[in-house]
Symmetry: C2
Subunit: 123 residues, 2 copies
């Protein structure tokens, strides 16, 4: 189950690194369609849990924009729950993970952050 694909917020295939291509216009530009709302809500929902927000913040603020799970798993819930939330953040396209030897490192997708910021831009 859960074959949810990461959000194609940004076309990373050959776009220059600085070019942020948001999935949707700013919230205040025009009413969202059902599909736009569905995609975008997934990101907001991912950050709509306190534990996930702490995990995301911990990764985002860690040096190099990445952190080992062992460095950030002190958020008051059990280890399986931490893993569960990190998975959710990955499915939302906000984090990526990579195993390096014993440890697994999570890193933020800065372009996605920027795209979300543009969603909130005031008209």
């Amino acid at each position: 189950m859960s074959n949810v694909r990461a959000l194609p917020l940004l076309d990373r295939s050959e776009a220059p690194a600085a070019a942020v291509v948001p999935c949707c216009p700013p919230l205040s530009e025009r009413p969202f369609t059902a599909e736009e709302a569905e995609r975008t809500a997934r990101m907001f929902k991912a950050l709509g849990d306190p534990v996930r927000l702490r995990l995301f913040s911990a990764v985002a603020s860690h040096e190099g924009g990445e952190a080992c799970v062992c460095d950030i798993s002190d958020v008051g819930v059990s280890q399986p729950t931490v893993s569960h939330h990190l998975k959710k953040l990955k499915e939302a396209g906000l984090l990526t993970s990579e195993r390096r030897g014993t440890w697994v490192y999570y890193r933020v997708e800065p372009s996605v952050l920027a795209a979300m910021g543009q969603l909130l831009a005031v008209r």
Copy 2:
């Protein structure tokens, strides 16, 4: 039930209108505390539902930044459900409502939008 107070994202008591005082530092500045995460997650959660996102976008993109419920309630769910979601958005501090005669108007809280944008600022 549901005596949830609006988020004190911005001290509106006597601050100048342009001064955005976010509740929390940018997500990537330092790891969020439990309390910061709790408060901030409430906002993201409010936008983490497709119907609410459409309603919010409809209000935000409406001229004058406000809209009558009758103008935006065509989002594919029943009218009580629309009312339910608008209430949630109000409780999250993202919208305010005001009755003027027959109709009820909802309007966005622009400072809250700006504060959320700052949360997503890249370090």
